[in-house]
């Protein structure tokens, strides 16, 4: 035990007291997180773990050094409210500079939201949180050993590691299908089909020319796919390149590094794929849990926390885009729709009392109290089986939007009322006050906002030049009001398009879908990658696309091309026409040739 243990002893003890109380409430509500390893950490300490996404013992790499160095130089990383890891036991960082109510808020959010989600959502099933720290330590040691090996050194290690990082996002989705047929089996089946078709051409082709042509086309399609290897495109690029049969010339150490990066990427991937669910879940419980009778949160703390609870709603636009706010909206929507009150139950608890030092501590007397039992079976089911994609697609529908739109429009009207009142009080020109009749339609509201935006702009100018009074509301608020009205209008115009626009912002959708189509094993030996073009996000960033392709060339060791779509432009760089097929090709990994297909 160090000096620190004594210095912080009282704080640690109090935190653990609250942890026990939250435990009682959480268990009754059906939450089951991993055991928690709280780590009280200085702000500096938390900042230092940022490049490693909080993971202790991550392997050494310059990219993390770059981030850490930038943090140091910019003095970034002041205060981090919460950081919690998907490990078992789960590591939860608590900042030493948080006040006690804030610590409770963070504990409720992180433990009873995030950790419960990690432990119960099926997307996280393959992440093996028990062993991740041991695995990372092992990886770190392996890479260290390779760096110390004179045959490799930093240059040799980074030659492959940098390349692995470049494609580390492309590690496939979800668990591997155990019944997936191997390439060999598929090939057998297709060959059988070809033989069957040829037989039919002989049999039936004699009687009908059109039938013969049709069958011959089928044969041609199957044969062209038989000429490819693999037959089924591979989405897990790292895993595919890692296999010895696909890249026979790679040294085993390079394979090891690939497997390290692969494992790390697969471990982190579920967190990106459940961002809205996870943050929404945590935002939902941070409030529900602390208000349970077992916790018995003192009134003083409730005032302190009200602002934190409302943090993500302060800007109305957030309820469309912010994972915390939008996620929570969806969860509350589910709770309202499927949840119901299911009788009463008795809860035993010790009340919180203030002791002589002014600290809130547990009282001695046990008392009983009645609470409503809320049935949340549907929520629990969704927490277990969904990921962002399904979650958003299923519940972010018309009903939810109507709700949010109404709330937000109400917010806009309220702000308008407040502004009107302030303008009158401060004696502004009456033509800027929109009261009787109050604006009701979207067009009217938009007009009001536009007029005020202009007034705001000019008032700022006059304020600087002549010292005249400023418009009582900053430009940002007016801008937010405008955005809300626009979104509502867009929704009124075309529900599906508006919904799609917002849904596309979730669940890794912006990650380009790139697959290995062919390795040229049965052809000229050059690899072919294909990018599934998505017009919502547009073509790939050219400069990085080239560099990444060169890195891929380094791993596969063969000439490689990437098929994608690119926008034609005129002499001034303005886009013309629809996107056209485009190819990036590198023969030697040093020059990338580009051409239209």
């Amino acid at each position: 035990m160090s000096k620190d243990h004594f210095e912080y002893a009282r704080e640690l003890e109090l935190l653990m007291m609250w942890d026990v109380r939250m435990h009682a409430a959480g268990k009754r509500l059906g939450l089951s997180p991993y055991p928690i390893d709280y780590r009280l950490t200085t702000d500096d300490g938390v900042t230092q773990t940022l490049p490693y996404v909080g993971m202790p013992n991550d392997y050494v790499h310059w990219s993390k050094g770059k981030e850490a160095e930038a943090n140091r130089r910019q003095g970034y990383g002041g205060h981090i409210y919460e950081m919690v890891l998907n490990t078992n036991p789960s590591i939860c960082y608590l900042s030493t500079t948080n006040s006690l109510p804030m610590q409770l808020h963070v504990m409720a959010h992180a433990v009873w939201g995030h950790v419960d989600f990690f432990a119960n959502n099926k997307t996280f099933a393959g992440t093996m949180p028990e062993s991740i720290i041991a695995r990372l330590t092992q990886y770190r040691n392996k890479i260290d050993a390779l760096v110390n090996n004179p045959d490799w050194g930093w240059v040799g290690v980074e030659h492959f590691l940098d390349a692995c990082h470049a494609i580390s996002n492309h590690v496939g989705w979800g668990p591997v299908d155990p019944e997936k047929k191997s390439d060999k089996e598929l090939r057998e089946i297709l060959r059988g089909e070809v033989a069957e078709l040829r037989r039919r051409i002989l049999d039936e082709g004699e009687y009908s020319q059109s039938k013969k042509v049709q069958l011959e086309r089928q044969v041609a399609v199957i044969e062209s796919s038989l000429r490819r290897y693999p037959i089924q495109p591979a989405a897990d690029l790292l895993h595919f390149v890692m296999q010895e049969e696909n890249t026979p010339n790679l040294p085993p150490e390079a394979r090891m590094m690939m497997s390290i990066v692969h494992d790390r990427s697969r471990y982190f991937q579920p967190q990106g794929r459940t961002k809205f669910m996870n943050e929404g879940w945590a935002s939902y419980w941070q409030r529900e849990l602390l208000l349970q009778p077992e916790v018995d949160l003192p009134m003083e703390f409730r005032f302190d926390l009200a602002q934190s609870w409302h943090m993500h709603y302060q800007v109305a636009v957030n309820s469309y885009f912010d994972p915390y706010a939008m996620g929570q909206n969806i969860w509350r929507f589910i709770d309202d729709k499927y949840g119901f009150d299911d009788g009463m139950e008795t809860v035993k608890r010790k009340r919180i009392v203030k002791n002589a030092d002014g600290e809130y501590v547990e009282g001695k007397k046990v008392e009983k109290t009645e609470v409503v039992r809320r049935n949340r079976d549907k929520m629990m089911e969704i927490r277990r089986h969904y990921d962002d994609n399904r979650f958003v697609n299923e519940f972010m529908g018309e009903e939810l939007f109507e709700r949010i739109n109404l709330e937000n429009l109400e917010w806009v009207r309220r702000i308008i009322r407040i502004i009107n009142k302030t303008l009158k009080k401060n004696g502004w020109n009456r033509k800027f006050v929109f009261e009787n009749p109050a604006p009701m339609t979207l067009e009217d509201l938009m007009q009001v906002v536009q007029v005020w935006s202009q007034v705001q702009e000019t008032s700022e100018q006059y304020h600087e030049e002549l010292g005249q009074p400023l418009f009582p509301v900053p430009a940002q608020t007016l801008e937010h009001m405008g955005t809300v009205i626009q979104i509502v209008a867009a929704f009124d115009q075309n529900k599906h398009k508006a919904r799609r626009m917002i849904a596309m912002r979730t669940a890794y959708h912006s990650l380009p879908n790139i697959t290995i189509q062919d390795t040229g094993k049965l052809g000229d030996g050059s690899w072919t990658l294909k990018h599934e073009f998505d017009e919502t996000f547009g073509p790939l960033l050219q400069s990085e696309c080239r560099d990444t392709l060169m890195f891929f060339r380094r791993l596969c060791g063969m000439p490689v091309r990437l098929l994608t779509m690119e926008q034609r432009t005129d002499a001034r760089g303005r886009p013309t026409g629809p996107p056209m097929p485009f190819e990036y090709f590198t023969e030697d990994g040093e020059v990338v040739k580009e051409r239209w297909l």
Binding site: G45, Q48, Q74, P89
Partner: protein, 534 residues
């Protein structure tokens, strides 16, 4: 998660408790928490930087990018007057991935990252690192590198002894003497603790002798190694042979000859071992056990006694850490002397670009050389086009002026006046000097593209005047004007070639078309520097 049953059969969850875990000890967590279903909490740890190794590696990579950038570094930093940390902008490290987006302008190109935008886009360089790079880049010959290395750092010499220091610097002889001195004073103050009579002295010499002989021979006894003093002194290992020999040679009438030494020692040891095996209850043999050795030992003790030297055995007075003596290293300062350097730079338009960087490198290496030679170096920076300009800062000094006719006489006049009387620049209003020859070593370096339109006579006259003023040395460099393919000197250089030998003895002339030529230009100072009072 385990649950515990109470007496009533009602399940209550196991309560979290307050568990101590050592900071940063990840190995304990699974034991403390995983099995029990309890939460644990750890107080903050202080200090330490987990990101250290990653950042080191990142900086190392960034430094690798500096190759071939020395010209920019020299051009952008005030290295002559204010050598210190140098910040060099480098393109940011790229971490490309496939992602949607558009390059900034049109189709984009490789290396789009703009320096100055991304964090960590500059490298901080120590002056020492810069020097190393600079020397490597200009290809300074090894001999000169050595000279800089020797004079740049202060010289270190072994001088005298100290009581503590690293083991590699231990002086064994002095240490042994110190122990003898201490033993002698101990014996004077407390004689009762020491061996009183002749026989016991002989015994202690015998024990020391057999101990060393034994350990040298590596022999073993039947009942283990018990009879010898504790092996304390590995330290004087090199002197053991001397000790053994001096015992063996002590009986002058019958010394053991070199060829028989091994046999003699073997014989002693066999006798000794035999005695110990016969007397298992004793651990030490008497010195009389071997007749021949007995005579040697008695003679040895007798001689030492007669010379007044005390023979403490290592057992009586073992080495103590206060006996340790180490060589002392002394730092030597450079001689206490002063020098004034006038740097004269042609700031005409034709000097822009490479020539000015070559000039800066030339000035830099010359000034640095003088700084190793003199304790105090005053730098006077004068640039000229049609007139002279005396500058206070390096940034102003290296700025290119308007193009036009280039004459250097006003600048030389100013140098002369500053050195002799102290003077003030007519254009900038700055003033400097005087630096009288009695107390100052005076130098002038002139860098130009050589197109000086002063006329041969004026050029020769002024150089003669300056060199005989006297200045220790005057350097003249024509830099970077290989246009027109001229191989010889241009106007200025041609004029100087016609100077009399007595003047040329202290004039260095060179042409430099690239940084690689700078050392040659510099080297002349080594031959032609006028030594004062030598």
């Amino acid at each position: 998660m385990t649950k515990r049953k109470t007496k009533n059969g009602v399940e209550t969850p196991i309560r979290s408790s307050f568990t101590f875990v050592a900071p940063n000890d990840d190995s304990l967590i699974p034991i403390l928490a995983a099995g029990s279903g309890k939460s644990s909490i750890t107080p903050p740890s202080r200090g330490g930087d987990k990101t250290g190794r990653d950042r080191e590696r990142y900086k190392e990579r960034q430094k690798g990018k500096l190759k071939g950038k020395i010209g920019d570094i020299i051009g952008d930093n005030p290295i002559i007057t204010r050598p210190g940390k140098i910040n060099v902008p480098v393109p940011p490290e790229k971490e490309p991935i496939w992602r949607p987006g558009r390059d900034q302008s049109g189709k984009g190109g490789p290396g789009k990252g703009k320096p100055g935008q991304d964090a960590g886009d500059y490298v901080e360089m120590d002056f020492e690192e810069f020097l190393e790079m600079f020397f490597a880049e200009i290809g300074l010959p090894n001999m000169l590198k050595k000279m800089f290395a020797q004079t740049l750092v202060k010289t270190h010499k072994r001088r005298g002894l100290t009581n503590n220091g690293p083991k590699s610097r231990m002086d064994k002889r002095a240490t042994a003497i110190a122990r003898l001195r201490r033993a002698s004073s101990m014996k004077n103050s407390r004689p009762e603790d020491f061996v009183p009579d002749f026989a016991e002295k002989c015994q202690s010499v015998f024990e020391a002798y057999t101990f060393w002989a034994y350990s040298k021979a590596g022999a073993e006894t039947a009942n283990g190694s018990v009879m010898f003093p504790e092996p304390v002194m590995v330290l004087i290992d090199s002197e053991v042979q001397d000790y053994l020999r001096s015992v063996e040679l002590a009986d002058e009438s019958n010394p053991v000859i070199e060829a028989d030494v091994d046999d003699f020692r073997k014989d002693v040891l066999e006798t000794l071992v035999k005695y110990l095996d016969e007397n298992p209850e004793t651990t030490v043999a008497p010195y009389t056990v071997h007749a021949a050795l007995q005579r040697h030992i008695e003679s040895y003790v007798f001689v030492k006694e007669r010379d007044g030297e005390i023979i403490p055995s290592t057992l009586e007075v073992p080495f103590h850490k206060t006996d340790m003596r180490f060589s002392r290293i002394e730092e030597k300062d450079d001689p206490d002397s002063k020098a004034m350097v006038a740097l004269v730079l042609d700031r005409s338009g034709s000097m822009d670009g490479d020539p000015i960087i070559i000039a800066k490198a030339y000035f830099f290496i010359c000034v640095m050389f003088l700084k190793t030679k003199y304790k105090e170096v005053a730098i006077v920076m004068i640039s000229h086009d049609g007139q002279e300009y005396l500058w206070k800062t390096e940034e102003e000094f290296f700025k290119i002026g308007a193009s036009g006719g280039t004459v250097a006489v006003p600048a030389w006049e100013l140098v002369y006046n500053i050195a002799e009387f102290g003077a003030r620049s007519k254009t900038t209003g700055n003033s400097a000097g005087p630096y009288p020859a009695a107390t100052w070593n005076r130098y002038m370096f002139h860098a130009t593209d050589g197109d000086l339109f002063d006329g041969e006579d004026a050029i020769r006259q002024w150089f003669t005047k300056i060199i005989t003023a006297p200045f220790n040395y005057v350097g003249y460099l024509e830099c970077g004007t290989s246009w027109g393919g001229r191989s010889g000197y241009s106007l200025g250089g041609q004029a100087l070639q016609g100077l009399p030998a007595a003047v040329k003895a202290h004039l260095g002339m060179a042409k430099a078309n690239s940084l690689k030529d700078v050392p040659d230009a510099f080297k002349q100072i080594l031959d032609k520097d006028r030594q004062k009072g030598a």
